[in-house]
Amino acid sequence: MKTIAVIFGSRSAEHDVSIVTALSAIIKPLEATKNYSVIPVYISKSGNWYSDDKLKDIKIYQSDEINEFVSKSQKLQLLIDNGLTIVKPGKGIAKSSKIKIDIVFPATHGTHGEDGELMGILEMANVPYVGCGVTASAIAMDKVLSKLVVQAHGIISPKMKFFTKNEFQAQSKTWVGTILKELKTPLFVKPARLGSSIGITKVNNEKELVNAIEVAFHYDDKVLIEEGVQNLVEVTVPIMGNNELITAFVEQPLPKDDGVFDFDTKYMNQGKGSKSTGAKSGSQGYSKIPADISRELYEKSLEVAKSVYKAVGCEGIARIDLLIDEKAKQVYFNEINPLPGSLYSHNWRASGISNVELVTKLVELAEQRWSDKQKYTTTFNTNFLKQF
């Protein structure tokens, strides 16, 4: 039986979402396969690592029990020895224990996890892991970078401006003036490297713009401002695969009355306040599966999503968010989620792929990629050192 470590939590605004992803969409289905021994690895909000079977139970996080657990438990150590071993240090007379990890299933969202940092550790350890690699994760997490990459591949995205905190503070009035002159309102102000729609504001005038930029800088030191798409239909496409891609349904999240599909709409309200009717509630709030768009736009969305996935170099799984101008029949790239919340398993299930099949397939893809990589030579013998 192979041992899979599911890593979740971490120093991220999406820490709590990550717990739900790990527990409900990954650990339970993996255990239901009866093919794996599943080790939960929890990264606390302060960045310490822990492992214990107790961490598989959602109840521990719903009360202060998690704080008590964190304060009393021994922190985990990682041993990198051409593979990954987790070491639980001994306490008192208890000996330390080691568990060799065969595969890692990252379940972290946002910073310090989904952004490529965790993948870097796993690459160093040379252990198979599920999902996008370091480069794709880092590009995907940076909304500016991902747009620049996909644009280079001929995929369109809404017109944008971006700057760092220092750049903005040095010339804030000039930036605001340029933005209002060159971009058409409404505008969307976004922290460049944050997921789950946190910190995103829709603005229509200068005052709102300045306030929104200030809010966005609370979350990140890089901010982008985008033009809103007219006659907007927002859709998202879950994709899995390394070389051969499988798509789930094109899904249509339904925004709140202000037109923003934000954190609350996604995870808290279950779509309350939505204008639309006839929608189904998924784990990600209210949405229509499949999206209520023309056949032509549906097919185009699938094509654009797959092109984005390839352009960024995604592997394993990702979700591509698109913006559609329904009248102009134009599909714009919006952003990539290299680890969709709860793996978007509600959509995969609707597409006929059960949670168990989903996680099993993702583990297979991880092993396949790792196995392919082992074929490459990573060293090169030279006489370089002898000259010194």
């Binding site: 339970k28 289905p29 255990e31 239901a32 995969w348 299930r349 609707a350 597409s351 006929g352 792929i353 059960s354 949670n355 168990v356 099949e357």
Partner: protein
């Protein structure tokens, strides 16, 4: 591997024997007595099975737990008194006035004797409870009920059969209720004690009374018929059930046919869709089926996962039946309910309205959605004919992937092997994509029969049924249909 098996066997043996010494043993045995309705024979059978499969006694209450009724409290107390009594004798006989080591020896020996004899003790206790408490009380209640029914002027309908009784009774009551004052026995409460309670609840104003007759052992049907004196009787089907109490299926049929002593032949309705029942139908009695019933013809049958519709015609009258029930096997009982309602004076539109109110009974071919898939919950199904109906439905429905989940059937007595060979054959014929069998005594029989009959799909064997049910939502997806038939209670696990 052999060493591993040996170690595992030794561990199972140790766990089993250690569990028999549990101080909670009286509680576990009382729980099982509740589960087997204080039947001493079934208690003994269950205890034998524990030893056969080395199941620790502490694991008996998986699905339910002991309900602390007064009777249960008394039985638990009596269990501990048995321990105290043996202790007293032991200490008196071996240890009294002796040094400490003799006292300890006496305690240990007494405990072992008390533990070892507790099941026999409870067997005797259950037999006494049955003979001196339950039976006399039942007789008293039976007489009260008999007097109430005798004075009541309502039309009385008895519903009996190996399966489909509750559905038949409820659909008939729902349709008749559109223009009659109807009372029926609730749920699957179909024994003398529950009938007595039901009789006491009647107001005297009811126009129609429908009573479900359950057959648990020979003589039950005539016992209930004697009490109710029905005007009509419906026999829904025959299957080899309760073969631990009945010697054969002929004996069950004989019990059903006892109804002829109480109801005139033209008012007894036999379901000819039931293969087993067909050969026992006496002449001059009425029959009903999915093609004809009381002179009505049935046409345009359409089976969907959550809908069943057909049309009934007779002498220029047409009734459209559109129900939310699942499965072709509902056609005959629905049609009989319609025909009987018409015979008892209901108009076609009232009948149609009544039909529209019929919903699937809980856990009986009850379709529901989970994770985008359809689950057909038929976990209250406990006979081979019902299983066959479910498997036929599964093969009839369209799905991307079809699942069939069952632990097999209980109470099959000497027919256990044959019934499960038949079940395996029917599974192979239905040909689901995935079959999930629960690990138990009948699993190898079903599995072999499936293989012998050419089953080509995937077979999964689950050691922990509850874990499987909990994980089901992760295993299935849109396009799947999962037929779940029967569920074993703790005394059969």
């Amino acid at each position: 591997m052999r060493q591993q098996n040996k170690t595992s066997k030794i561990l199972s043996l140790s766990r089993y024997y250690l569990s028999l010494l549990s101080i909670k043993k009286p509680i576990y045995i009382t729980y099982m007595l509740q589960q087997v309705e204080y039947n001493p024979y079934k208690l003994w059978q269950w205890h034998k099975d524990l030893g056969k499969f080395l199941r620790p006694i502490s694991k008996v209450s998986n699905r339910k737990s002991l309900v602390l009724t007064n009777r249960a409290r008394l039985l638990v107390l009596a269990g501990y008194m048995h321990y105290a009594f043996i202790f007293a004798i032991g200490i008196f006989a071996i240890g009294a006035g002796m040094p400490l080591k003799n006292f300890v020896f006496a305690v240990v020996i007494s405990y072992l004797i008390a533990s070892g004899t507790s099941v026999v003790y409870y067997w005797i206790l259950a037999s006494l409870v049955l003979k001196f408490i339950i039976k006399p009380e039942r007789n008293k209640q039976r007489q009260i009920a008999k007097d109430i029914f005798a004075k009541h002027r309502a039309i009385k309908i008895a519903v009996l059969g190996s399966y489909g009784k509750t559905s038949m009774k409820e659909m008939l009551a729902l349709i008749l209720s559109e223009s009659k004052n109807v009372a029926m026995t609730l749920g699957n409460l179909n024994v003398v004690a529950s009938h007595a309670k039901f009789a006491k609840s009647l107001t005297g104003t009811e126009e129609i009374i429908i009573v479900e007759f359950g057959e648990g052992k020979p003589g039950d049907i005539s016992d209930m018929a004697e009490m109710l004196k029905p005007d009509y009787a419906i026999i829904t089907g025959l299957a080899p059930n309760h073969l631990d109490e009945y010697d054969s299926i002929e004996m069950i049929a004989g019990d059903f046919l006892e109804i002829q002593k109480f109801v005139s032949p033209e008012n007894i309705f036999f379901n000819t869709d039931s293969e087993h029942l067909k050969k026992y139908i006496p002449p001059k009695t009425q029959t009903y089926s999915s093609s004809t019933v009381l002179g009505w013809t049935i046409a345009n049958v359409d089976v969907k996962i959550n809908k069943l519709s057909f049309v009934m015609n007779k002498s220029g009258i047409s009734i459209k039946v559109e129900s939310r029930l699942t499965g072709r096997h509902h056609v005959a009982p629905l049609a009989l309910a319609v025909a009987l309602a018409y015979k008892l004076g209901l108009k076609a539109n009232a009948i149609e309205l009544g039909i529209s109110k019929i919903t699937p009974h809980k856990h009986r071919m009850e379709p529901r959605q989970l994770s985008g898939a359809w689950i057909i919950d038929d976990t209250y199904n406990g006979n081979i004919e019902g299983m066959s109906a479910g498997l036929k439905l599964l093969s009839e429905l369209k799905a991307k992937r079809k699942w069939y989940v069952t632990p097999g059937l209980v109470d099959q007595g000497e027919e256990t092997n044959n019934v499960h060979i038949e079940l395996g054959k029917k599974i192979a014929e239905s040909n689901p994509d995935i079959v999930v069998l629960m690990e138990n005594t009948v699993r190898p029989v079903i599995q072999k029969s499936m293989r012998d009959n050419g089953f080509k799909g995937e077979l999964r064997i689950e050691a922990e049924p509850l874990e499987f049910y909990k994980n089901l939502e992760y295993i299935i997806a849109n396009g799947d249909i999962v037929m779940m038939q029967n569920d074993w209670t703790d005394n059969y696990s």
